[in-house]
């Protein structure tokens, strides 16, 4: 398919801007004036619409079909959320509007904070972080501020992270200026307590943990883990990527965690838009509240306002109060569930266990336990017996019109297939997916070449990622296409009229 730049012809255009005849722009001083316009494409609006529409036909979303991408919680994104986020009172509200002209927005944020505090079992919430990874970094900044305030800043140097952790955890540790201490996983998929005890001491600032873990397993010793850290005065950080498993069932605050981030684009249905936006609010225990980012959104009687008077605050981690449009969508989603939110997590866990039960004969199950909202299989049996990898299984699933699961993660499971169905799938969909996975396991034995050459019916065949990294072509190279504007537009082959 052509790039939008390859469809451009000089002199064409879509949008026009008002040009009041009565006014003229002042001269831009010499040296600051643009010498050559940006080579933006020139297309009439219909061609623009067709271009992007054609791109959408080459893409797959939850609206297209089943998307069991583990750890990403690809649930249905309700359309009503889009409708309410587009209400002019939200969409066209300037962030510098006076507080008395933004009372509805402030109340919504205050309500959302209280709901997230209830769900996480913690005391105070900041909605500011833009995504889960920024929530993590913010949480670690809170730890720094907390320990500095207690005069322990120099001593508390390390953060313990499980070897099953998302890559963001260790990356956040480095960006926050901490040292990483890794802890192993035991044969049941829990944190290895013996290993942990050797790694936690007075120099430990805290733990970062996902529970249930990225293996989809609830840590059976979470109370002991919490004790180990709190005994030395360290803090526990909960990576909320897997919160969809435990809403109304077990609260991070009750498990002993002091700081939690919540991925609004996972558990609370904000659509992920092909990579973002997201939302990564953090909830904390009261002793950490003074350090939260400014402004805090607070209630004063019947009025809501922003409070900047927080002398111990870490500052700001992004502009304004956070990604407000995301808050509107997640708030709408939470209103739909209300106190029955527990059913959401129950069905997510039921769906995952059902898929697991149907698939565990054909694929290896490294930790044979009931799972929570997701589970990890290994294709190493297929690799050993037929030379078929997790990647081959993933690509072949595309031919069955399913988005593949997460693969090669977590790192401790070879040939990992990490499957998360979410609660918004019917039994029929789960059955169809299971049938496809079982068919692929049979194909691995009977016709392995079909898998190795998959996918067969996507707009492109298997893509060469090594070549992409080697060539590093990361923008359209106009210089390689000097005669572009001379290229004729392809005529559509016409038959006779088939309508008027």
């Amino acid at each position: 398919m052509k790039l939008v730049f390859e469809k451009s012809r000089p002199g064409r255009r879509a949008g026009r801007v008002p040009r009041p005849a009565e006014v003229t722009p002042p001269a831009v001083p010499d040296g600051l004036r643009r010498q050559r316009p940006a080579r933006l494409p020139e297309l009439p609006e219909i061609e623009l619409v067709r271009h992007f529409t054609e791109l959408t036909t080459r893409n797959f979303g939850i609206d297209t079909g089943f998307y069991p991408l583990g750890s990403c919680t690809m649930k249905y994104n309700p359309r009503v959320n889009e409708r309410v986020a587009a209400l002019p009172g939200f969409r066209d509200l300037h962030p510098h509007q006076d507080e008395d002209g933004a009372q509805g927005a402030l109340e919504l944020m205050h309500d959302l904070q209280e709901m997230l505090a209830e769900i996480t079992g913690l005391d105070a919430v900041s909605l500011q972080p833009a995504a889960g990874s920024q929530g993590e970094l913010t949480g670690l900044m809170l730890m720094r501020a907390y320990f500095a305030d207690r005069g322990e800043g120099d001593r508390r140097r390390t953060i313990v992270v499980a070897d099953t952790a998302h890559g963001t955890n260790p990356a956040s540790v480095t960006m926050a200026g901490y040292e990483l201490q890794k802890v192993a996983t035991d044969p049941r998929g829990n944190i290895d307590l013996e290993d942990l005890r050797t790694k936690v001491d007075e120099s430990t600032a805290g733990l970062m943990l996902t529970n249930p873990s990225t293996l989809g397993l609830f840590d059976e010793h979470i109370e002991e883990v919490s004790r180990i850290f709190h005994q030395v005065g360290a803090l526990l950080y909960y990576d909320g990527a897997n919160l969809n498993a435990v809403c109304g069932i077990s609260r991070p605050g009750d498990m002993g965690f002091d700081i939690v981030h919540i991925n609004l684009h996972k558990t609370f249905s904000q659509p992920h838009g092909g990579g973002g936006p997201g939302g990564g609010p953090i909830a904390v225990r009261d002793r950490l509240e003074p350090y939260l980012p400014v402004p805090a959104v607070i209630r004063d009687g019947n009025r809501f306002r922003m409070d900047y008077d927080r002398p111990k605050s870490i500052g700001k981690v992004r502009a304004f109060t956070g990604p407000f449009g995301v808050f509107v969508r997640s708030y709408a989603f939470m209103l739909a569930w209300g106190r029955e939110l527990r059913t959401m997590s129950e069905d997510a866990v039921l769906n995952a266990n059902y898929l697991l039960a149907r698939l565990k004969e054909a694929y290896e199950l490294p930790f044979d336990r009931l799972c929570m909202h997701e589970f990890v299989l290994s294709a190493r049996n297929l690799k050993r017996e037929h030379g078929i990898t997790a990647l081959d299984v993933a690509k072949r699933l595309m031919d069955y019109r399913f988005h593949p699961p997460t693969i090669y993660f977590p790192l401790i499971v070879p040939e990992a297939l990490m499957i998360e169905p979410t609660e918004t799938e019917t039994k029929e969909t789960l059955d169809a997916f299971s049938d496809a996975m079982l068919a692929i396991a049979r194909e691995a034995a009977e016709e392995p070449e079909t898998l190795k050459n998959a996918p067969h019916n996507r707009p492109v065949g298997r893509l060469d990622e090594v070549k992409a990294a080697k060539r590093a072509i990361v923008r359209y190279r106009f210089e390689d296409h000097p005669d572009l504007s001379a290229e004729p537009t392809a005529a559509t082959a016409g038959e006779g009229p088939k309508g008027v």
């Binding site: 040296g31 054609e54 009503v80 002209g101 833009a130 889960g132 069932i249 981690v317 509107v328 059913t343």
Partner: protein, 440 residues
């Protein structure tokens, strides 16, 4: 219970397959001591209709940009957002997709990001752009992290004329990076290159904004040269709309260009979600944060696109990653791409010229002194109202006009100054009403 998909019969059959006695039984690994034993205190579930009513009620208590004549900017601008953007971004294939980890399923998003990266490189003159950052503040912190690793230095020099929120975010991130921040004060609304040169000695980077927070045009080429003299990386924070008439940062010696993309294609949305952009010269490609899409071929030699240079990223490199960023702002960035394609080169120039012309006209119509009368401004300028800016704004709002942002909120001693933003959406009549409201 709007979004439930299973029936009780389904549940029963599924439990039988699992070999569990009840749904409760599935949670047997959750220790009794951490189980939550009451219903969540979240109110009654609402139907879709009730949700809409509740949200309409809340939205109705906000005063949005369509309900008053607004000259508020200060980093977020009421530019026109064309209808085609919503039409495309609301398509489920884009809206409800995750990060394109499986490229054969995601060629649409991948190609669109590649096109976005190209457009950002074209606007800024740079060689490489990522797929977007969170917003115009966090990309400044990203630039500092690149500069630290590229130069081995730890000092960040920030012009005081950079948006205060950008400066606050850089200050919040800096201690974790092991970096420290030095401010350079403004002189009559702009930055003095000689002062900047002195401050840049031994610095990793120098961040300035063009046009700056006060709307004034900085002597940007001189500022970049001052940073380069000290071998500190010059980083320009730029308004994408201004790049219709202002020189691309790469063409006056900048190493990195960053900015807030909102004005190009995103609604105000009370401050987010929007997109931040970051682009750099080729030598920094492997130090860039976040997702980057690259061109490749498939097994048949057909052109296609994939996430690339991933050895920079957290999911491969973990604690050695160039950033922890994972989720970005792709959908908002695609709004930016569509907006810039819709305008084209002529449209972007016209938009910039209209803003500039209307702003200049507004200065003339307001019979009030300018805060920085010597400077050329783009679409925003500061005036002195001779009394509390907050009071003047409050009074003007009772007449249906919101005149702008009170500068004194961030700059002590400027309590009588209002920052007035004029986009192409303001008419000559709007400007007359502003003049009347402020003349009272």
């Amino acid at each position: 219970m709007t979004y439930v998909c299973l029936t009780d019969a389904d549940r029963e059959e599924m439990l039988k397959t699992i070999g569990a006695s009840s749904v409760e039984d599935l949670f047997r690994d959750v220790p009794a001591g951490v189980r939550f034993d009451r219903p969540l205190d979240l109110g009654d579930p609402l139907t879709e209709q009730e949700i809409v009513e509740r949200l309409e009620e809340l939205a109705g208590r906000n005063v949005h940009a369509g309900e008053e004549i607004s000259f508020v900017g200060a980093g977020v601008y009421d530019h026109y957002v064309p209808a085609v953007i919503d039409a495309i971004l609301q398509r489920g294939e884009f809206l409800t997709a995750y990060t394109p980890y499986q490229p054969e399923m995601s060629q649409g998003i991948l190609q669109a990001i590649f096109e976005y990266q190209t457009v950002i490189c074209e606007l800024t003159g740079m060689d490489v752009s990522n797929a977007s950052g969170y917003d115009g503040t966090t990309v400044a912190a990203d630039a500092c992290y690149i500069a630290k690793h590229a130069t081995g230095r730890t000092k960040i020099v920030l012009a005081e004329t950079v948006n205060p929120q950008v400066r606050q975010v850089v200050r919040t991130y800096a201690p974790g990076f092991g970096m420290e921040v030095v401010d350079v004060p403004h002189r009559d609304g702009v930055t003095d290159p000689d002062e900047l040169r002195a401050a840049a000695e031994g610095a990793a980077c120098v961040i300035f904004q063009q046009p700056n927070f006060f709307g004034c045009l900085e002597p940007a080429p001189d500022l970049a040269a001052a940073a380069n003299d000290a071998e500190a990386l010059p980083v320009a924070h730029v308004d994408p709309v201004s790049l219709g008439v202002l020189e691309a940062p790469a063409n006056y010696g900048c190493a990195i260009a960053i900015g807030e993309g909102q004005g190009a294609g995103n609604p105000l949305s009370y401050g987010g979600p929007h997109y931040g952009f970051i682009a750099a010269r080729a030598e920094f490609t492997r130090r860039m944060p976040g997702r980057i899409v690259g061109e490749t071929t498939d097994v048949a030699g057909q052109r296609g696109y994939v996430l690339t240079l991933q050895t920079r990223e957290q999911h491969i490199r973990r604690e050695k990653a160039t950033s922890n960023i994972t989720t970005n702002q792709t959908l908002l960035a695609l709004g930016g791409l569509i907006n810039l394609c819709w305008l084209g080169p002529e449209g972007l120039r016209e938009q910039a010229e209209t803003c500039m012309a209307l702003a200049e006209h507004t200065k003339g119509r307001l019979e009030l002194p300018l805060l920085f009368p010597e400077q050329t401004t783009f679409k925003e300028f500061a005036i002195r109202v001779g009394r509390s800016a907050q009071d003047a704004i409050r009074e003007a709002r009772t007449r249906g006009v919101n005149p702008g942002y009170p500068v004194g909120r961030d700059y002590p001693g400027m309590d009588d100054a209002i920052l007035v933003a004029v986009t192409e959406r303001r008419t000559l009549d709007d400007i007359e009403l502003l003049a009347e409201a402020l003349a009272e």
